[in-house]
Symmetry: C2
């Protein structure tokens, strides 16, 4: 074993050990930050858990639920003493959140976030924070509910957490944040922010937009049918309504702050939907069959796997 | 108690008793008919269970899995002795299935079907069968798999089964078919075929089309991202891929045979999606927030309930 690989093995062992923080401060305490607080307490990951949020009601709820030890609307008070600060506001508010806490941070404090969009978060946060100590993160987990009362243990178990550090991000800070997510059961991956935003637009942002729209479209149907629509919700619609129960403010910000990737996908989606619409109108049975068969193959990972391994593709 | 309500109560009691058939013959034996066969055997609903299908392989599988007592590609052989015949082919094949079995039916045999579209099934079947003994049915249940091997017990438990008899359908036949579905755990409702087709277009057919299309669109993304797309499937996309695993032939026929209702809904869907797309492009934060809030309200049944109770609406 060379010195280098020995050193690397040691670094990995340290990173994988259960991390321990003096104080974790949550800026915003809804489903994601609240669930992380529950797991941090259960696993003893921090000496103290503190929350700050704009609404007094949210803080009272977080305290009543026992998510944190202390809660204050004063961001300065909240982050004093914290060696980890987790921004958990809607993406659009993350710049303001960073600005509010920055002057009061411990010099060694690490800041991370849990937003579903990553390139924009860095743009918003960078003017206010030392970006070397900021580790952008996205736990790919969720539920059809929101707010502190929705927080549950084990929300992140076996789910991906994607970190998107820049070239200048402190590797030690990245390792500490990665260890936190591993401690709560997540599989941690690292990629560029732009790559993250394109992948998530396809697997999460577009599907959520389509589900919101499907539920609204079903809600539009003739009055005579409305009573029946939810009553007979089959498998298909139940999955859609579940997704559409998600937090409106969070999703508004996702679409506004991952605009190019989302608009590009909506464009492709509508083109493809128009082709199906035309095939239905013209009774093109084979075209429909082939399209559905292709979707099934993609679901099974066949087409993607085949695509991924085929040589000579751009 | 008047005589009428007493008679009605007796009829209901008879209809709710566990039904017993001499022989149930399944024409087509995939997920739905196969699961019904499993429950019929478990509950002792028939003296004999028989399957017929075009493909020998399907019949061999059904026999090997113990779904039925006998299986034959000869439709005439299969229905001889049956007092209940369940058509379980894709909707487009139901006319041909009815034609094949009609000459060999017992005079007292009841025929029903399990198709997801109802007006068209009646059109296809009517030229061949005595429609007074044909009870159109739709168990609103499914799974992301298809074929005899996908058949499971309890698939219909706590699910709706919608029957769409016509004015001339024998009430005794309707009661027998309703009792069968109640015996396997379903909640049975009766409505007109046209009403059924409009409601199911909104709650099932459109969502399936959107899911097939979302999976194909995700499969379209740049080659560099393909490997990541399924790896990071968040809640949203996982629900979509699940739906997209359904049987392509079945769904092809659903869209071709519920064409007006489906095309009408695709039209509305695209209009609504264009409005969202425009709001994203123009940063119309409030419009997005309101739209997602409305979807959440519909999910909770609030908007629909409010709509249903508001006076003076058409």
């Amino acid at each position: 074993m060379t010195d280098t690989s020995f050193g690397q093995a040691c670094a990995e062992r340290v990173a994988d050990a259960v991390p321990r923080f003096d104080q974790i401060t949550f800026v915003g305490i809804g489903l994601i930050n609240g669930s992380l607080a529950r797991d941090a307490r259960r696993l003893g990951l921090a000496g103290r858990l503190v929350a700050t949020a704009r609404r007094r009601e949210t803080l009272d709820q977080a305290l009543a639920l026992g998510l944190v030890d202390a809660a204050t609307p004063d961001a300065a008070d909240a982050v004093r003493g914290a060696d980890l600060v987790v921004l958990g506001t809607p993406v659009g508010a993350s710049g303001e959140a960073a600005r509010a806490v920055a002057p009061f941070l411990r010099p060694d404090a690490i800041v991370t976030d849990v937003g579903s969009v990553k390139a924009r978060v860095l743009d918003l946060v960078a003017p206010h924070l030392d970006t070397r100590r900021f580790v952008p993160g996205h736990p790919v987990a969720g539920a059809e509910t929101s707010g502190p009362a929705a927080a549950v243990e084990h929300l992140f178990r076996d789910r991906w957490c994607i970190l998107t550090p820049r070239g200048d991000t402190d590797p030690g800070a990245v390792a500490r944040v990665a260890a936190l997510w591993r401690a709560v059961g997540s599989k941690v991956e690292t990629m560029g922010a732009a790559q993250h935003d394109k992948v998530l637009a396809a697997v999460s942002h577009l599907p959520h937009l389509l589900a919101f729209n499907a539920v609204n479209t079903a809600g539009d149907v003739e009055h005579a049918l409305q009573g029946e629509v939810l009553k007979y919700a089959a498998g298909g619609f139940r999955d859609f309504t579940r997704i559409a129960g998600a937090d409106p403010a969070m999703w508004r910000d996702v679409f506004l702050h991952n605009k190019p990737a989302v608009l590009e996908l909506i464009g492709r989606y509508v083109e493809n939907l128009s082709a199906l619409q035309r095939a239905i109108r013209r009774n093109e049975a084979d075209a429909l069959f082939d399209s559905f068969t292709s979707a099934r193959a993609i679901r099974r990972g066949e087409a993607l796997a085949a695509g991924a391994s085929s040589p000579g593709m751009p």
